[in-house]
Symmetry: C2
Subunit: 794 residues, 2 copies
């Protein structure tokens, strides 16, 4: 909302009320029609069983409330010339949002075969929850939506993400009282401490208390109003109540509430933007109490339905078989007086549409809900500017994420005016060594500050709240409205958003099939403070399984990278930040790590995704390897190189190939993933028949799951994390999980046939060193000097 | 807390204060000692670098606050004769809780080598965050704890879980202001609407605002106090504030606050238990504001530390190399005046221990924190009582979860007096068709009720809140304190608790290595409303990946079952409810499903975990199969049986074996999982060399990941869910994912060599039927009659 929006707070005239009600009734009619009808959309003939869908699927309960909000938001947007987006949290009410989009015309513009006439209405009804049709929820298919209404909890964080850096936008967010019980939603109320009233838009939460979930009353609806008000004020809001079940009264109250809220928002924005106010404002919100299933059947089969949980899905469930239900359905539909609402061709009558805004101001047509239309290329620099110099492999050490921090600082600085890039993280940006970014932007913070604070900034674009859910929701909302970002997270705790990322990937997968949805910036994760370096925190902080979770999802939308050093991290980050419509997972350490590749080598290696490091093995172009040492991840790479060095020293006649894998999906067959390798390529790297000892960052069986179809799979031996976690030294972690250099050498000796007799002694030497390690750390609490001081001598 | 606890609200005497302060200083000294010292524990000689650990790991910031709470909780428990348990949410403060346990003697009783003298103190210090020692967090190794302090968010739901059905228990819960920002914690405040003041104990939240997280101020600490109070009152609490940084004043205020809180709790319990009060009480809570790193170095290297985020981990980080840091550390330690606190042998002096309760009342000795000591066998009935009759396979249909509901009702009824069994679920108990359980217990509910409500019960033990996190936290707390339960959840949304179950499994894995921790009841999941039957909800509700997530974890602690019908569900549920120290995942449908096995057959089949269904194939004991059709899960089993029937009809000469797998870990090698099969057994079921077409409930590659080492793996072809989800008919879902009977027949024909020439025509027939299916559902919206009406004719 721009600060110039005029204040229009006069009460509704009777005529306005009549027209708003007509719009609402039309939307209700269309919602019921979608749930029930397959033909006879205008009830031009008496309703018969064959007009009704054979399978009744959908959710009526929340729909009339959503229709009310849509109607009144239309009025607000139109009367004030606002730019608005709405997040429909109770997205089970898919039919409601679709109905409104059809009424306002955005639906037909998006799907031209669903015309705004009787034939189109019939198709609109029939397609709903029908095989090959549209889902029963607000979903990617729904014009104007950036929020799938399936899994609950993320509406409000999505709304804030959309509002960030959109100072002219009003983001309304309907929160169901069911969703309000979830953890992610409960946490996201505090997002208002991170919303900059100058550079960000406004978020107007509408808490819709219809009183029931699937089968239970809701907690918030059963609090005394005074207690609920305390809660909402404690969240930093000033609640405005609208309560009722008599439509005209509710229309009047809702119009008044919307006006009051908009007036207050305008006043807040004027105060901070024009008058220099710096106190955190108390933003308005609306508490809307209307019956669940309002205007639907009051009673079915002798049991109350309207205003109860029984209205959640399909109130009349036996319409094709039970004449009473059929009659009730017809009465219900006719109660909206469809002939007043639609003309004889089925088009909405002009009175119905007076509240509807024009063009891109329609909620179903706003480009903010189709962020790909707005997204711009990020200003990415030549990476050489940030690359670490590498004269020879393994001669220097850098903290990879710290190097990345410099790149992020550049991007943050270059987007200072555009303001379309944010970094989010659960209080871990500095812990993850990305603090260089503060040089270009502080941390968003609107609450009180103290002298001791550092880098807090009312206009900051680094977002830190100790809630992975809120971070994820903010970033999703930001990306879906056409901007860019990165989420840095401790590797183990990113599982907290497993379910959220599921839903985002589903969203991306569906939008890829919708030509009208333009590609958006990818959701980029930097997972660091990873499983191998949790010296402070131990077992509870050790879990590399997010990669497994991600690789279960649609291959077209997921990418996983394990850069082994600083320059490869720069390269994959650059690639990820340029990409569209993916979820990119980058796993990289923050601890000092050997630099293996120059920037140019890193770029080539990352583009290939996997390759032979001939300088690390014994490749001389004349002979096949006796064994392949493969690695993915920074710590496994170091162990593999140390093992290669041990082999070179102890068994110099052995031909060893070292293969490093950055892009883990390369291991998949090409028909399973767009990045997958052909068998020809795979065999070229790994050989079809030689032993492969693969040191992997995460759970070892993931590599088998990716490579099981390969010719040489029976020769593949994988080492990785096998839940042997604890608080211990870095090297002890790899020993406990049998990923250490000595074990890898033993693995090679155990697998390569025909080795020299002295190999047995070499193997024993490795075993002895492992035993020495155990004794040493128990006495000294630090790693063996030969490990701590190890360097690559290749 | 029992209602009879006396009220003791007189202010602290100076002598009491002095003794409490001595206890607190002793705990602080021991906390610092654990973080820094490896020898010279009593500072009997000047501190030198070699007394200091080579690697400094740990978290000081929260420790002094936890020590204050422990000290004052000791006083409260002792003075009132209470039974108390404490959940230490800011569990990074491991040294604090360990220090207090050592002081009270429970540590030495648990670990006899850590004696309460100088030698024991040295071992106590040295072991902390040392390889082979104890973790830096409150963890399973910590006496008196049921809550790992690593991942944040679950303290308060654990506390409520512990309090349920423990009417005599006071569960104090320290919530850090970092943790308070997380979603799960934010949601769990509303647990007080589900706490029965009659049958449950009391929960006393202590919100500890030390102001900072790792690197940022916290949101709640920067709210104006009035706004924070509104929030906490909105959560249903009456806050009592304790603020300060002057120890004596804080001791006085804290003692007073603890007394006031205990008095109010006693008053509430008396009112409801003795005077019949039925209004939901407003429970007290304490808001404790003390500096982060209180009593630690005020400044280090010129920067403020005490009272800032810089105190989070190790305030003096270079003690071995920087003489200034060494001197500061010595001053810091001496500031607690250790010689007043410990005698010349290193034992705590009597004055230090006057606040400590006796015996099992000590927080480190309460049996409630070692629930295995309290757990009793559940009263489980003979399953025949609930079994569905099966005269022949596939002749009848039942909804498996509804049948299970009857069993749960029995258990609920039989535990009506013991009250040690609860069912939790996010508003889905009835949706998951377990509603029979309401016959024995309603749903816990303390908020307002209306006439229209059903099954709400102030004393109910069915727990429904729309927060998977809260459900999970409640159940974990309940199990860890020695009770039983079941979590029923939509399959897709159980990913919401991926990270929580990780932590619970880690807890179980560690406790299995601690002989003093007695085994507790398993955490049992019923995952239903599964991927194949989301007719109402579509893609957003389709995800079978929780099994993959679980199977990445310690094999000793995880079990996964996919019962194919009602009787097998009864059998695995019975097994799960009897088991200890596992996470059991049961995936079972709620839709009508053919009954395949009698109860006796089900029992035998489930005990084996996998077996040949010879009645379903062509087994006659004389010949090897030409092909194995394997299945796991209810829908895949039906498709496999339908495919077997089609093959019998169309290619009667083909020898088909049908193998059903209930216990999915059976597929693993026996050395990888306790339930794994030997190769001999595996080959006996699946053959070493015949094609196996495996229809699996979830992601197909999971089966490969389990079976990749088997001889016949190259002949294994798996069908499963491959993210082809949408809102459609049940059969269309299996067609979209190539799991349908027609595709399975095609798979067989494609893989069995030497089939009759007419096999090609049969294959074409299958293909044609699939095409017909597509056309039919697009026209009618329902499945082909031959599929909808299919029955087993074997």
């Amino acid at each position: 909302m721009c600060a110039h929006s005029q204040q229009v707070s006069s009460p509704l005239s009777d005529e306005e009320l009549r027209r708003l009600d007509a719009h609402w009734r039309a939307a209700n009619y269309l919602s019921v029609g979608q749930i029930y009808l397959t033909s006879n959309p205008l009830l031009t003939e008496p309703l018969r069983a064959e007009h009704v869908k054979p399978r009744l699927l959908g959710h009526w309960g929340t729909s009339p409330g959503l229709n009310l909000v849509y109607t009144h938001l239309n009025r607000l947007v139109r009367s004030r010339g606002l730019e608005a987006l709405c997040i429909w949290g109770p997205g089970h009410g898919g039919p409601a949002v679709v109905a409104n989009s059809w009424l306002e015309g955005s639906y037909t513009e998006t799907y031209p075969d669903i015309t705004r006439d009787a034939a189109g209405m019939a198709r609109l009804f029939r397609q709903f929850s029908f095989p090959g049709g549209v889902p029963s929820h607000v979903a990617p298919e729904t014009p104007g939506s950036i929020h799938e209404g399936g899994e609950l909890g993320y509406a409000l964080s999505h709304a804030y993400g959309a509002a960030f850096d959109n100072p002219g936008l009003l983001v309304t967010c309907v929160i169901g009282d069911g969703e309000a019980e979830t953890g992610p939603l409960a946490a996201s109320w505090h997002s208002n401490k991170f919303l900059d009233p100058v550079r960000d838009g406004a978020v107007l939460p509408i808490l819709h208390l219809n009183g029931y979930k699937i089968a239970n009353p809701t907690v918030l609806s059963r609090l005394p109003e005074s207690e609920l008000d305390e809660l909402l004020k404690g969240y930093g809001h000033e609640p405005i109540h609208v309560t009722g079940d008599e439509p005209a009264a509710v229309h009047r109250a809702m119009a008044q509430a919307m006006d009051t809220a908009a007036d207050r928002i305008a006043a807040v924005q004027r105060a901070v933007r024009e008058e220099g106010e710096t106190e955190r404002p108390r933003w308005p919100m609306i508490v809307l109490r209307t019956p669940k299933g309002w205007t639907g059947p009051a009673e079915v089969d002798g049991l109350p339905v309207e205003g109860t949980w029984r209205a959640h899905q399909v109130p009349l469930s036996a319409v094709r078989d039970n004449p009473d239900h059929l009659r009730q359905l017809e009465e219900w539909l006719l109660s909206y007086r469809p002939h007043e609402l639609f003309d004889e061709h089925g088009a909405p009558r002009p009175d119905v549409l007076t509240c509807v805004p024009d063009g891109a101001r329609r909620l179903g047509s706003t480009p903010h809900a189709n962020g790909g239309l707005l997204v711009r290329e990020l200003p990415l620099p030549p990476l050489e500017r940030f690359a670490v110099p590498v004269d020879k492999p393994g001669a220097t050490l850098h903290e990879p994420t710290r190097v990345l921090g410099d790149l992020l600082e550049y991007i943050m600085r270059e987007t200072a005016d555009r303001r379309d890039f944010r970094v989010v993280g659960p209080d871990e940006t500095a812990s993850n060594r990305l603090q260089a970014v503060y040089g270009a932007s502080g941390k968003a913070w609107q609450a009180r500050t103290l002298d001791v604070d550092e880098h807090l900034d009312r206009h900051g674009r680094v977002m830190e709240i100790l809630s992975e859910h809120t971070c994820q929701g903010w970033l999703e909302g930001y990306l879906l409205t056409g901007r860019h970002g990165l989420f840095s997270c401790y590797e183990a705790f990113v599982h907290i958003v497993d379910s959220m990322v599921n839903q985002h990937i589903k969203w991306l997968r569906v939008t890829r099939r919708l030509p009208w949805r333009a590609p958006i910036a990818s959701l980029n994760y930097l997972l660091t403070s990873h499983v191998w370096r949790q010296d402070h925190n131990g077992f509870s902080h050790q879990d590399p399984g997010f990669v497994d979770h991600i690789l279960n999802k649609s291959p077209e939308a997921v990418r996983v990278y394990l850069p082994p050093d600083a320059n490869t991290l720069l390269s994959v980050a650059d690639h990820a930040l340029r990409s569209r419509d993916y979820v990119n997972v980058i796993v990289a350490g923050k601890q000092p790590c050997f630099d293996w590749l120059t920037m140019e080598e890193a770029r080539v290696h990352c583009a290939r995704g996997a390759g032979i490091w001939d300088w690390a093995g014994t490749e001389d172009g004349t002979r096949e390897p006796d064994v392949v040492l493969a690695c993915a991840g920074d710590v496994p790479t170091q162990e593999v190189l140390a093992a290669a060095q041990l082999l070179r020293h102890h068994l110099p006649e052995l031909a060893v190939r070292v293969v490093n894998v950055v892009d883990i999906a390369r291991l998949l067959p090409s028909e399973e993933h767009p990045h997958g390798m052909s068998d020809f390529e795979y065999d070229g790297l790994f050989t079809p028949d030689k032993p492969v000892v693969f040191a992997y960052h995460g759970y070892p069986w993931l590599i088998h799951r990716l490579a099981y179809r390969r010719t040489g799979h029976q020769h593949l031996h994988v080492r990785g994390y096998k839940e042997m976690g604890t608080t211990t030294t870095p090297f002890d972690m790899v020993v406990r999980n049998d990923l250490d250099r000595y074990r890898l050498v033993m693995d090679v000796i155990d697998r390569v046939p025909g080795l020299a007799v002295r190999a047995a002694a070499v193997r024993q030497g490795m075993e002895d060193t492992r035993l020495r390690h155990h004794a040493y750390i128990r006495e000294h609490g630090v790693d063996l000097p030969e490990v701590a001081d190890w360097t690559w001598d290749g």
